[in-house]
């Protein structure tokens, strides 16, 4: 079981680095196995994350900006999906902190993964909505009950 883990770890780590440099246009990111601090012999190594945007010296996570944190998390998610595609993935406003350029990178990469994974994405962001294969609008009636309507893009109000 250990070799299976180690094998997967290396592939996920490699893909994580690839998605990260693609999102940030350079830099580097990696996963590192760290010995757990528990004294117990059997306890397994944990996984640490290092991420360094291009040109910067620092690689600890505390200095990353809001948008950089989102993109780093999504890079790890996509790395896991590329190794073991979950059939269905639900993402709730993961693009909230992203600027226009990063939304485009996020959506562009997501669409590549949709061959093997079905995505249900909740978003206020026009670029994300425009890239959808299908769109559902949800609205709250004056009876405080939610209703669903299948939308065409043209139906949507200009979002913020």
């Amino acid at each position: 079981i250990r070799t299976k883990f180690v094998e997967t770890f290396h592939v996920v780590n490699e893909r994580f680095g690839e998605y990260f440099t693609r999102f940030f246009g350079g830099g580097q990111a990696e996963l590192r196995l760290v010995e757990s601090d528990a004294d117990d012999e059997d306890s397994e190594a944990g996984v640490d994350i290092f991420a360094q945007p291009p040109g910067k010296r620092i690689s600890n996570l505390t200095v990353l900006s809001g948008g950089e944190r989102s993109m780093t998390s999504v890079a790890l998610l996509f790395a896991l999906l590329s190794v073991n595609p979950a059939p269905v993935v639900v993402l709730d406003e993961v693009d909230a902190a992203l600027d226009e350029a990063n939304v485009t990178r996020f959506v562009g990469t997501l669409l590549e993964l949709r061959e093997r994974t079905q995505f249900v994405v909740i978003s206020h962001n026009r670029r994300t909505i425009e890239a959808a294969d299908a769109i559902y609008g949800v609205s709250m009636g004056d009876d405080s009950a939610s209703r669903v309507l299948s939308l065409k893009l043209a139906d949507l109000p200009r979002t913020a």
Partner: protein, 165 residues
């Protein structure tokens, strides 16, 4: 295998029966603040057998049942059904379509059904585990928690890799 349809009735703010048809690829759910988008994500998690109330923003079972409004009475039952297209035989079950239903009563009791047959929770979880559906914690990112993985302890992150193994 893919998710073909989701039906909700009496679950959170979905007082009337509502239906989502999903195709392969990316389906986006949009709408104003408070309209019920995250409730859809909660419905999906709940029907997959989610046992942690916190993960679906509830404190107890009855929080998922429509609590009423000025214009409508509260309901006594919440029901969510996932229709999964199994024509590729991915799920270890002899049906081309698998309907998984979860119900909650005000009494706190939960019911589980597969293709309209009553089953136990363990049957549902077992089916999904063998089909690798919904069990990967990386398959859900809740609102406002996109960077949760960066804040996890190293031991918890290890589990993400183990799930992908």
């Amino acid at each position: 295998m893919y998710l073909r349809r989701l039906e909700v009735h009496g679950f959170k703010a979905f007082a009337d029966r509502q239906r989502f048809e999903f195709g392969p690829g990316m389906t986006v759910i949009a709408g104003p603040n408070g309209s019920g988008k995250s409730n859809v994500a909660d419905a999906l998690r709940w029907a997959l057998g989610e046992q942690s109330a916190k993960q679906i923003r509830a404190r107890k079972t009855e929080d998922v049942i429509f609590s009423g409004s000025d214009k409508r009475r509260q309901m006594g039952l919440a029901e969510v059904t996932l229709y999964l297209d199994n024509s590729d035989g991915w799920m270890p079950i002899d049906f081309a379509e698998v309907a998984v239903t979860r119900r909650a009563h005000r009494s706190g009791e939960n019911e589980y059904l597969i293709n309209n047959q009553h089953v136990r929770l363990s049957d549902v979880l077992d089916l999904f585990r063998r089909a690798q559906v919904g069990q990967n914690s990386y398959a859900h990112m809740s609102q406002g928690l996109v960077d949760e993985v960066l804040a996890l302890r190293p031991q918890d992150r290890r589990e993400l890799i183990e799930e992908a193994a």
